[in-house]
């Protein structure tokens, strides 16, 4: 069963316990200055954004069909069936296609390192694969970030909107965006206010490249046969012309 996180912005109090827990879990530095940084970076995998006393978390969405996983030429990024999108640094060659492809702009890079890694939230794979919840969910004091089965969380989110329609934007972000994500968001203010674009396609992005790539196995033999055929025709034409020329020449001799 695929796991997911449900973040309900209306329950969030901006205590930043999720940030601190995330830093601790991923062995990242964390202090008051980093707490003030309202964006994800190579040393901060999740950030709580605030705007007019409204809050919103940003973290890797751990897509159901991640663009980053599909584009990685060396399979350094992988989607686990439990939900987390994980990264194996020692496979990575640093092409940064994952960064270019991610619609949410999540993967960050260690630009100052001579042996740089891609950094992002990986949804605490060690914990989730061992049946525990993510560090951020475990440390959330208000239940704003909740860990659970994706289907159940979607039902719960629907119920929350139904029970309190005035409190919520009537949209669960992440159910359908780019084919669905393992992070689901509820908010009282439009998602765009915090940089979540709502104009994303509903189909998974990897489909678009796969539609082209899947034709290659057919294309190669077809190409060989077509090109080989053209080669045969153009050279055969020459051979025939030469043979006919010889015949004409001989016919001319016999006439004399």
């Amino acid at each position: 069963m695929s796991k997911a996180l449900l973040y309900d912005a209306t329950l969030c109090i901006d205590c930043k316990q999720c940030e601190a827990a995330c830093a601790d879990q991923n062995k990242l530095p964390y202090d008051d200055n980093i707490a003030k940084e309202e964006r994800q970076s190579e040393h901060k995998f999740t950030a709580v954004l605030s705007k007019n006393d409204k809050y919103m978390r940003r973290l890797c969405m751990n897509c159901q069909e991640p663009a980053c996983v599909s584009v990685c030429p060396v399979a350094a990024l992988r989607k686990t069936s439990e939900g987390p999108v994980i990264y194996e640094a020692n496979r990575c060659m640093g092409c940064r296609y994952c960064m270019a492809a991610c619609p949410f702009g999540v993967p960050k890079y260690e630009w100052s390192s001579l042996n740089p890694k891609v950094r992002k939230c990986t949804m605490c794979p060690d914990r989730v694969l061992a049946g525990r919840q993510t560090a951020c969910a475990e440390n959330c004091p208000t239940g704003a970030t909740k860990f659970g089965d994706r289907d159940e969380l979607i039902n719960e989110a629907r119920k929350r909107i139904q029970d309190n329609p005035a409190n919520y934007i009537h949209h669960i972000y992440g159910v359908e965006e780019v084919g669905g994500t393992s992070v689901l968001l509820l908010s009282g203010v439009p998602f765009e206010e915090f940089g979540y674009r709502t104009d994303f396609p509903r189909d998974p992005l990897p489909l678009r490249t796969y539609q082209v790539l899947s034709k290659i196995p057919d294309f190669i033999p077809l190409g060989f046969v077509t090109l080989g055929g053209i080669w045969w025709i153009t050279h055969r034409r020459e051979a025939v012309a030469a043979a006919e020329g010889r015949q004409a020449h001989q016919a001319g001799k016999e006439l004399k």
Partner: protein, 389 residues
């Protein structure tokens, strides 16, 4: 041997010195210190120019070998060798440029054993690797002839046709795949350039640029190596170029029309200006020039049209990879001087290697008898004068 110190040699050394310093910064201080790349803008000119344009500019290799060996157009034979040389050098330099751009260049071999067939990049990596090998083999007869190694020469000539077929197929795949790379970014790439037809456009334009580069090169080398211009051959290429450009232009127009992008041209802006520049250079100007028989048949007209096509499609590749990405990234990317210095040095080295090869190997038909070490050094310096192009 006495080496004369000319102006262009000085320029060449200057470019290479700047590139060497850039290389030091890149490999001892990292990508952050040597580039203006960022988390919002992870691909710059090393991908947009060195890789996308580099591979496109080397497309003459497969276009010409296909024309001569598969379509059996023997008239074009005299210009196959310089074209293969350009293509081979081009692909080698693209690979070198990749070593600069990759964050972990020592892992460049990983796709050999760590496969992800769903990745366009994986497919490109394989095709480029295999095609560079094919080009090396297609190029090898020139070296083998030079040293009169008859036995290996016989072997290569025996497998030449399958090699050419393989080269054309690999080129079709990766030239189009460089466009497919961007199909996964519908939310980022500007609608002027994002279209499901990207792979088709990249492939067709590679053929056009392959032809244009061949015309450009022949004109250049006739000037700098004191050779006679193969005008009838170039006229023929010009005619084919006209056809390819026309097909491309119709498809591009249809695509823009069907996606309803034209009304965006009414809004003044940075993207629109660069889009128009691309369309004028790549299509309007060369199509006009080539459509007029008198211009199409003149050496000067052909040269101008070819240069325009090359510049136009360089603009296209930079638009797809850089201009079209900036709004979504929310920033304006300008390459750092080290990025430009390294790109410049790679181009300069390419020109120098081309000149060296022409001097020491039987590349041009009339050289095949008389290739010797005393070939003019001045020719090299003259070619270098275009290193900054």
């Amino acid at each position: 041997m006495k080496i004369k110190f000319t102006f262009w040699k000085a320029v060449f050394l200057l470019i290479v010195a700047a590139g060497a310093y850039g290389t030091f910064v890149r490999f001892f201080r990292g990508l952050g210190a040597s580039t203006n790349l960022s988390d919002q803008f992870p691909w710059g000119i090393w991908i947009g120019f060195d890789v996308l344009c580099g591979v496109m500019l080397a497309a003459g290799g497969f276009t010409l070998t296909a024309a001569v060996h598969i379509l059996n157009i023997q008239r074009l034979k005299p210009i196959v060798r310089p074209t293969i040389l350009t293509a081979f050098l081009g692909y080698v330099l693209v690979s070198v440029a990749l070593l600069f751009d990759l964050g972990r260049p020592y892992n460049i071999w990983h796709p050999l054993i760590m496969r992800n067939p769903h990745s366009v990049m994986f497919e490109v990596a394989y095709c480029v690797m295999l095609y560079t090998t094919v080009l090396a083999l297609e190029f090898s007869p020139i070296v083998l002839e030079r040293f009169n190694l008859q036995k290996p020469l016989k072997v290569v000539k025996a497998v030449l046709i399958p090699l050419v077929l393989l080269g054309v197929i690999l080129s079709t795949l990766h030239q189009s795949s460089l466009g497919t790379l961007y199909l996964i970014m519908p939310t980022k790439l500007h609608p002027f350039w994002y279209t499901p037809l990207l792979p088709v456009f990249f492939f067709l334009s590679a053929i056009a640029v392959g032809l244009a580069m061949t015309i450009f090169e022949s004109s250049m080398s006739s000037k700098h190596f004191g050779r006679e211009l193969e005008l009838p051959i170039l006229q023929e290429l010009g005619r084919v170029l006209l056809v390819v450009l026309t097909v491309y232009a119709i498809l591009r127009f249809e695509d823009l029309l069907h996606r309803g992008v034209f009304h965006q041209l009414l809004v003044a802006g940075y993207e629109r200006n660069l889009f128009l520049l691309e369309i004028v250079l790549a299509l309007v100007l060369p199509l006009t020039l080539l459509a007029i028989p008198k211009i199409r048949q003149s050496a000067g007209g052909l040269y101008l049209a070819a240069v325009s096509v090359v510049l136009g499609f360089i603009t296209n590749r930079l638009n797809v990879s850089i201009t079209g990405m900036e709004t979504a990234a929310g920033l304006h990317y300008v390459p750092k001087w080290t990025e430009i210095a390294i790109t410049g040095a790679i181009i300069a080295v390419g020109f120098a290697l081309f000149a060296l090869a022409v001097n020491y190997l039987p590349i041009f038909p009339e050289h095949r008898e008389a290739a010797g070490p005393e070939a003019p050094v001045a020719a090299k310096a003259a070619v270098l004068s275009h290193a900054g192009d």
